[in-house]
């Protein structure tokens, strides 16, 4: 674990101390989708909220597996769904962005283990595709998450956003207009 990651965990373990950067699951996702998007989001740069994509995601999340999961808020910053089996569940509309979604879930598992000493496994679910995937922390995924946390701290700490770069999914990005204008 690098010094910055260790400092982050130490700050999160101390309730009276507030870490400079609060990492959320969404930030972990953005880090793996587009670091420029992550930087914009960290500076409160507004997105187009009239878009239907957000509404669709919220709808799928709210209407799937309603009976079999319970929602928990941890430290006022992480919203978790816990299944009856005890696994942590993350629901996504589609598997198009599989890696970012998996990293978000792994971040929750890692956060629970490092900050709260709770060991859990995870389930990544795509209800519209009728598909689930088991996710767990091992040496490899732990290293991935720690690299992610370090990368997020670096990106968000930078004075200026990462350079503009055309990606295949720019067209559906909520920051498209501000990014390219």
């Amino acid at each position: 674990m690098s010094t910055s990651v260790a400092e982050y965990v130490a700050a999160e373990r101390e309730p009276a101390r507030e870490p400079k950067t609060r990492i959320t699951g969404l930030m972990v996702q953005y880090y793996h989708v587009c670091r420029r998007e992550l930087w914009f989001m960290s500076r409160d740069i507004d997105i187009d909220r009239e878009t239907t994509n957000i509404q669709r995601g919220t709808h799928v999340d709210e209407t799937s597996y309603q009976g079999s999961r319970k929602s928990f808020q941890i430290d006022g910053r992480i919203q978790l769904d816990v299944l009856e089996s005890g696994d942590i569940m993350e629901v996504k509309v589609s598997s198009a962005m599989e890696k970012p979604a998996r990293m978000q879930l792994l971040f929750y598992l890692w956060y629970l283990r490092e900050v709260h000493d709770i060991e859990k496994d995870g389930v990544l679910a795509y209800p519209t595709e009728r598909r689930r995937e088991q996710v767990e922390l091992n040496t490899e995924t732990t290293a991935q998450i720690e690299a992610t946390v370090e990368g997020i701290l670096d990106t968000v700490g930078a004075e200026t956003p990462p350079a503009l770069e055309k990606k295949s999914y720019c067209d559906s990005c909520l920051y498209q207009d501000i990014c390219w204008m």
Partner: protein, 330 residues
Amino acid sequence: MPKPNHHVFADGELSRNEGTLRIDTLAGETEYLPVESIDSLYLHGQIDFNTRALGLLNDHGVPAHVFGWKDYYKGSYLPKRGQVSGNTVVEQVRAYDDDRRLSIAQRIIQASIHNMRSNLRYYDGRRGNFSEAIADLADEKDQVAAVDTINEVRAVEGNARKTYYRCFDRILRDPFELTKRQYNPPTNEANAIVSFLNGMTYTTCVSAIRKTALDPTVGFVHEPGERRFTLSLDIADIFKPILADRLVFRLVNRQQITVDDFESELDGCLLTESGRMTVLEEFEKLLDETVAHPRLERNVSYKTLVRTDVLSLKKHILTGEEYHATERWW
């Protein structure tokens, strides 16, 4: 796709009816207005409304622009901010306070002069020979880059506007004439229609700025002491030639608007109600017209251009990346 604006001309009452807006006119008609499908509400008639109606507008982030007697702009009811960001406002004020103010003001006025010049180029040869004024505006645009104070920027802008307005007389079909811009109140038909559309351009900018976390009172060209939202005045300067002036020329020259659409009062000249309706209908159509945007690589409407201009300014303030004030490229 941006949502359309809605204009209410009738006199009557605006109220909330469960989840929607209801308008009862004095003439006895009732109309329901789905609040979630409008961008901004324009009230041109004498309208009574209460806090419940305002609350509904608030919930949906819809600004209401209120016009008074003879369609003088009275003010706007702005919804509670959807976008709040202390960080943005701090950076905006910082940019106002350091040398970024001058460079932002220069960008805005250069774009404004560019857009005036582009109008003259369009009419050059069609309605007269404007090559001299076109060359003067090109000079004046260059001068803006060379000055070191806001006052000088404004002085050059004033000269450019004079150069530009002097050409209106020749562009406009007789008997419309505009030798000098006069307002409060406008003294003739051309001044009246320019004033009216400048007001519409201004409120369009107010609505666009409200959708961001920028503070509308902190502008860069205009002084914050002015009574209106100075940032909206700044952005409106860029868009007046595009949204107001070009439309004035078109409406007058195609005789969609004639002198019969105006009425002279004691000391001024104003559009009649049916004149205003014609102008607004065309203004709304113009807002929905689209152009291919080179950086966004898609077609965007004129209304979206106002919004993306504001977003570009905001990004410049927060990141230092270049501010692209909208210069007509199409």
